[in-house]
Every structure is written in structure tokens, then in C-alpha cells.
Symmetry: C2
Subunit: 181 residues, 2 copies
């Protein structure tokens, strides 16, 4: 969207996909991050595979989760929809989330995205928001659930739904953008 | 499928539906229960409304969950798919599950169905099986998860997926059918 960033390398975010992702969320977050000169890399179970969204649009994974290393990324985004339900069963994806959190790198999760945070054992004692159907699962996992557009706690940034994505993306950009755009 | 049952009234099962139910599971369970002379009543959020399955087939709710009373039913079936994620947000459906369990009436849940059992606070200390993605949520809710085709514990009957439905339906029929067909 713009030229090369001012930094030696632009901050790089891994956007995790699986089938049944929420297209609106993926599109919004990609546009917002790229507009702020962040690089977005689509990471999925299998590189080169097309993953279809809830409404039928497809994105192609550029990198397999099993080959992704958080040393190459500055943050992680987990979109919502029913994709997180599938991601939970992918060990490489769960491991990538764990690796990001262990490295203290920001992990942003939207809607059902915190299901993956539960599977990565990352919610205990953390303030978390999410789609309301999984609030009980977040609480049972030891998370401190609240119904807010955006919650930030340590490495975790969470949002409830598509309407909250602009605030979530802005928070992620504040943490990562070279000039704090 | 057959004529009137031999009992004064045939045992009656409420099959709960919401959008994104698993069609194969609903079809299999309906056929098996009706073949054993059980009456199946489709209960949904709004009576007379069509609910669409994951593959696009529709079923019409005959009765609204808010008007269903477990005194009129002998058991409850919760199909899988992404419908349970929606059912969790319907207070009348959660209440109906609670009412069935309080009355000691069998509640059968397939795949993601135990998500609704979690929301009804019904899994603590119970042996439960389910679709693997939600096993961690069952465990965090105090359920005793095991990867088995069928588990029965108190009023709860649970199965992992479509392949397990025949065993689940047979177990429900054993509990409810007049002649233990």
C-alpha cells in the first residue's frame, strides 16, 4: 500500500487462518495493519493452501504454521469465526501461540479467537473479552472475562467482534509501528 | 414410520435446533428414534422458523424453547455442528437443558453439543465425550473427558461425532422405549 517502511525491516505480523474464518475481520485487520506499514503474513496449517471464510471468500496461506518461528514475527493475529475451533486441533498453531506468548510478543484475538488462547493455556489470570458464547469457557479456564470492545493484558489483546476490530488494530499498531502511528 | 405406539403415549424426545446444526446427525438420530416408536419434536428458538444446517438443509422448529416444558418430554437431544455455539446464547434453551437434568431425564449431546451442557452447568464430575476441539473446555468445566464413542453418566449421554450416533441413539432408546427395543 505504501513503499518500504522507515525501519530496516517493517514490523511483521502473522495472521493465522483456517477454514471458516470471519472474512470481514481478516479484511479489516489486514487493511489497518498494512495502512500502518506493518507487514502481514498469512500463516495456515499448510502453505499454498486456500482457506475459505464463512461467506466463501478464500485466502492462501503463505507459510505453514509448523515452519513459522516467532523470531521472524513481531506479533500474531487470530481472527474469529469458526476457524479458531479448527485451529485448536492444529498442534503447530497452538505451539506458535505459546511461542509468541513466551516471547512476550503481542497476540491479538477476535471473537472466538480466545478459544485458541484457551488451548494454548494462555488465559489464566488475564483480562479477556470475546464473543459471548465462549465467555463461560474463558472463565472456566481462569480468564477474567469482561464484555468490553477491547481488552489488553500483558501480551494479549482481545476484542468481541468485527465492530471492535478498528480499536484492536489500532492497539496492535501502537505496540508495533515504527512511529507509533 | 410405524403406527401409534403400544403405550398410552409414545415416549417423546425434544430435538433442539439452531442454525448450523449438523444435518447428518439430526437425520440419523431422528430416524433411529422414530424407528423405535419414539416421538421426536423439533424445538428451536422460535416456533415455525426454519433453521439451516451446515450443508444448507433446513428444519422447521415445531415448538419454541421458551414454551417447551420437560414435563411434556422424556428426553432431550442436542445435535452438533456450530448450532450449540448459538444455543448457548439462548436462555430458554439453556434453561430447558437445566430443567431436563434437574428432572433426571436423559440428555444426549453429540459433537459440540456438550458446549451447551457447559453453559447449563451440567458437566462437573460427569464422564463426557465430545468433539476433540472442545475437550479442554469440558475439562476446564470440571467434566471427566474421555475419547470414547459413547459415554453415559447419570442423565448425560455423549458422543463424539456422526459415526457415533447409532450407539448414542440405541442407548437413548434403551432408556426410553416402551419395550426397550
Amino acid at each position: 500500500m505504501t513503499g518500504d517502511g522507515p525501519a530496516p525491516r517493517a514490523p511483521r505480523v502473522a495472521l493465522i487462518v483456517e477454514h471458516d474464518f470471519d472474512e470481514g475481520q481478516v479484511q479489516q485487520v489486514c487493511e489497518a495493519l498494512r495502512a500502518a506499514d506493518l507487514e502481514v503474513v498469512v500463516v495456515g496449517p499448510v502453505a499454498g493452501t486456500e482457506y475459505r471464510g464463512l461467506a466463501g471468500a478464500v485466502v492462501t496461506a503463505e507459510l505453514a504454521a509448523a515452519r513459522a518461528r516467532m523470531t521472524d514475527f513481531d506479533g500474531l493475529v487470530i481472527p474469529g469465526g469458526h476457524a479458531p475451533d479448527r485451529m485448536r486441533l492444529r498442534h503447530a498453531i497452538v505451539d506458535l501461540v505459546r511461542e509468541a506468548i513466551a516471547a512476550g510478543k503481542p497476540v491479538a484475538a477476535i471473537g472466538h479467537g480466545p478459544q485458541l488462547l484457551i488451548s494454548a493455556n494462555a488465559v489464566r489470570g488475564r483480562a479477556i473479552t470475546c464473543w459471548p458464547s465462549i465467555a463461560i469457557d474463558v472463565k472456566n479456564a481462569g480468564g477474567l472475562y469482561a464484555d468490553r470492545p477491547l481488552l489488553e493484558d500483558g501480551p494479549l489483546l482481545t476484542a468481541r467482534k468485527s465492530d471492535d476490530v478498528p480499536a484492536l488494530a489500532a492497539a496492535l499498531v501502537r505496540r508495533l509501528a515504527p512511529r507509533g502511528t
